[in-house]
């Protein structure tokens, strides 16, 4: 049933078992980093629950499957953050709508996306409905991280952890489906951390991928003492619309590679004059900048001063 979805075999099997045996719990939490196809799997699973087919479910042809696919099944409700967060009012509305009996079959399913964006009041108001939802209602929570979910919610849900793809399987999929060579696949893995969807996007729009290549080149030059490149980097980032986090991510990847080569004493890697503690310092600074973005500092200045520092080292 999860034919087009790679990875997370264990979770897929658990869900498959449940659909085959029609043994559903009342509350699930799908947690895992962004881009691990949690929602996609959840939708497939929900289709499997509603599907009318006698054979394999979901069949993708019956009316129920179609309705869920197009998002207008009357017994399937999806909750998304309003503005940035899921508000307590949304949860209250959800509670109210739970009281209504299902229209079509005998069950109702609620899918709550981005649960990590829920505030404490909203999470608390979920507690009672998660514990004993009325009748045949099921709630599926989807969250990027378990850390920001209350322990009292966690203990009420069956938790499925979603992980990005391991490197080996990522590379196989890349070479099999997209025909990329090993080097390319390696870079894509680093950039996407195994999020296959994003990697696919990068292959379709190669500019994204090249962004890193360009920045890498610039940084190489910078390390050789070419100061003007600093301003080239920030200018280019602005022109191309690379957002600040992305840019610092690139920097992080770049220095991580240097650090690893250095630490593992890879041969032919002697052109460098940075020492491990110095690289550690730089990385520390990059991480600091990343956490600073939360408090709205001027990123361009930050990055420039960081690069200046790096150049000096």
């Amino acid at each position: 049933m999860f034919d087009n979805i790679h990875g997370n075999e264990l979770n897929k099997e658990i869900l498959k078992n449940m659909i085959n045996e029609r043994k559903y719990g009342h509350a699930y939490l799908f947690s895992g980093p962004k881009g691990t196809q949690k929602r996609k799997i959840a939708i497939e699973f929900i289709k499997g629950i509603f599907c009318l087919s006698e054979g394999e479910r979901p069949c993708h042809v019956c009316s129920q499957c179609h309705k869920i696919e197009s998002g207008n099944h009357p017994d399937f409700h999806e909750i998304r953050p309003e503005d940035e967060n899921i508000k307590i009012q949304q949860i209250r509305d959800m509670q109210k709508s739970m009281m209504i009996k299902p229209y079509e079959g005998d069950k109702k399913v609620y899918l709550v996306n981005s649960c990590e964006s829920m505030g404490v009041p909203a999470q608390n108001s979920l507690l009672k409905i998660l514990e004993e939802p009325s009748g045949s209602t099921m709630v599926i929570l989807v969250a990027n991280s378990k850390k920001s979910i209350l322990p009292t919610i966690l203990s009420r849900c069956q938790i499925l952890n979603f992980n990005p793809l391991a490197k080996a399987s990522f590379v196989t999929i890349m070479t099999d489906e997209y025909g990329t060579d090993a080097d390319e696949a390696d870079l894509l893995f680093q950039l996407t951390q195994g999020r296959i969807d994003e990697a696919g996007k990068m292959i379709r729009y190669p500019e994204k991928k090249n962004e890193y290549r360009i920045i890498e080149e610039h940084l190489d030059l910078l390390r050789k003492g070419n100061v003007e490149k600093i301003f080239d980097i920030t200018k280019m980032a602005k022109e191309k619309g690379i957002d600040d986090i992305k840019l610092t991510d690139y920097l992080l990847i770049y220095f991580r590679n240097i650090l690893i080569n250095k630490a593992l004493k890879v041969e032919n890697y002697d052109e460098d004059c940075l020492t491990i503690p110095e690289i550690n310092d730089i990385i520390e600074r990059i991480i600091d900048i990343q956490s600073n973005t939360k408090i709205n500092v001027n990123m361009q200045l930050q990055v420039e001063s960081l690069l200046l520092k790096i150049q000096e080292e």
């Binding site: 559903y24 009672k128 003492g225 630490a263």
Partner: protein, 517 residues
């Protein structure tokens, strides 16, 4: 959906089914038997310890027509009606969703009506910590003197959020965490009841991870049942469900850190990652294991360990007592990074970097010596960019310290070891603490065995102090570095002037700098 989650199916229906809360249960039962029922209770405690269950049982027991020894009979009309929610005598309020003052006013208005069939009307206000301040205050009067037929039971996981005026009006019962033994007993009972076999080690692992909450334990069991194809729940299955990395991997990583073996650490990290390990969890485990080492080494008590369960473990032997400071430093680094990994879009890369940092942490001195050597040959390239930088600074009119600092570094490198300004400052501070303090804000520059000290306009006070004692300092400097050493102090007139003219000249020498108008 005929399937009901285990923790709902095995929710206790009588007091005797409650686990691990014997003293609370005895008190409640005695109150019912002796007919000394209070009008307001507060049940607090962590999740899954039985607060809501106890409240529900209590509500039924007080209304039961033929209750025996404080237990509800669950067979009389009243019990059955209450259980099926068809009577309005037990009112369960979700305070987290109805947290406003309006809801409480409504409640207050209705409290005065008599119960429809039993003796008491019981209000169970669950998650009461989420009420707003106004709502709490609106509740106060009702809570203090409710009509004789009303009983309030407040349940919450966070009693610290309730105002003191609420706390003082209630009889308070603190539900404690359920001990691992009790959880194991109950799990075995449930497994027998649903005809599932379970390995001993698996039960123990579930109990440990439930963290004193029965609901967690049953949730985990539920999940294990959904992946086990046979009717036996194995240790390995529990481990995959919980996403616990094999302890061996955690040990190996720690071993690698202690051995400064970067490669081993990274290889093990890869294994953990491919097994689907969450990086935040891994970092947690690492910190815990290090904490265990620390505690074991200090106390020698193996019972206090959380992560490492084997007293004979190799790691414990490896650590010497004088490593302890290092280990607390590691824990600090890990704790710091844990926060950042949570928000990072590249958790694995951060983790790698963190491990390398830990692996290389103890060797800064050696590495630093390496830099010095390389620096010498690198300087030629380095000076030019520094010049450009000075020009950039001129145009941007943004004075900052870095250029001088770099200069100091380079010059000390050239002059070799004996000429360390910091050392001189230390010596001077020893003899004249006040003078030492004044030396601090100055920027030192060493050239041909002559020490030049610069002060900003803002630090004129210190400059004056140093100027007065110049002779004295020169003496000390000579004592330290030899008779040909010199000392001078200068006040920097104006920042931009300094950066435009004086500094470039001094760094690069007059012959190399050309000012372009």
């Amino acid at each position: 959906m005929e399937y009901v989650a285990l923790y709902r199916r095995y929710r206790p229906k009588e007091f005797r089914e409650m686990i691990g809360q014997e003293n609370i249960v005895t008190i409640l039962k005695n109150q019912i038997i002796m007919d000394k029922i209070a009008h307001a209770y507060l049940f607090s405690g962590t999740r899954g310890t039985g607060k809501t269950s106890a409240a529900k049982i209590f509500a039924r027991a007080v209304n039961c027509e033929n209750n025996s020894q404080g237990e509800p009979c669950n067979t009389c009309e009243s019990c059955i009606n209450l259980e099926s929610n068809s009577v309005m005598d037990i009112i369960e309020i979700d305070a987290a969703s109805n947290r406003g003052v309006d809801e409480i006013r409504e409640l207050r208005d209705k409290v005065k009506y008599l119960p429809s069939m039993g003796k008491y009307k019981v209000y169970i206000i669950d998650e009461v910590h989420m009420l707003t301040m106004e709502a709490f205050n609106a509740l106060l009067k009702t809570l203090e003197e409710p009509p004789s037929h009303a009983i309030f039971i407040l349940a919450t996981t966070e009693p610290n959020k309730l105002p003191a005026t609420i706390l003082s009006r209630c009889q308070r019962f603190n539900f404690k965490r359920i001990s691992a033994e009790d959880i194991i007993k109950q799990l075995l009972y449930v497994c027998k009841d649903i005809d599932v076999e379970i390995e001993d080690a698996a039960v123990k692992l579930i109990a440990k991870n439930a963290d004193g909450a029965m609901r967690d334990a049953l949730s985990i069991l539920d999940q294990c049942m959904s992946i086990s194809r046979d009717n036996i729940i194995e240790y390995e299955e529990v481990k995959t469900i919980l996403g616990i990395t094999d302890n061996q991997i955690v040990y190996s990583i720690i071993e690698a850190i202690l051995d400064w073996d970067v490669k081993k650490a990274l290889v093990n990290l890869d294994i953990a990652y491919n097994m689907g390990k969450e990086m935040t969890q891994l970092i947690d485990q690492l910190a815990l294991a290090l904490r265990d080492i620390l505690i074991y080494k200090i106390t020698g008590n193996a019972d206090l360990m959380v992560e490492i369960r084997d007293e004979e473990s190799e790691i414990l032997k490896k650590v010497q007592l004088d490593d302890l400071e290092k280990i607390s430093e590691y824990i600090e680094i890990l704790a710091d990074r844990e926060n950042k990994i949570k928000f990072s879009s590249l958790p694995k890369i951060l983790m790698e970097v963190t491990l390398i940092k830990l692996c290389t942490w103890t060797k800064p001195e050696k590495a630093a010596a390496g830099v010095r050597e390389e620096r010498g040959s690198y300087q030629a390239v380095k000076k030019e960019p520094a010049l450009e930088r000075a020009q950039i600074l001129q145009t941007s009119q943004k004075p900052s310290a870095p250029p001088e600092k770099a200069a100091v570094k380079e010059d000390t490198a050239e002059a070799g070891k004996p000429f360390s300004w910091n050392q001189a400052v230390k010596e001077i501070s020893k003899e004249k603490p006040l003078l030492g303090m004044s030396l601090g804000p100055g920027k030192a520059k060493i050239e041909n065995k002559k020490i030049l000290l610069y002060y900003d306009e803002a630090n004129k006070f210190h400059y004056d102090a140093i100027l007065k004692e110049k002779e004295q300092i020169t003496k000390i400097v000579r004592k330290l570095f030899g008779d040909d050493a010199g000392f001078d102090v200068k006040l920097r007139e104006n920042d931009s002037e300094f950066f435009m003219k004086t500094l470039p000249l001094e760094i690069f020498g007059e012959d190399k700098v050309d000012f372009i108008k």
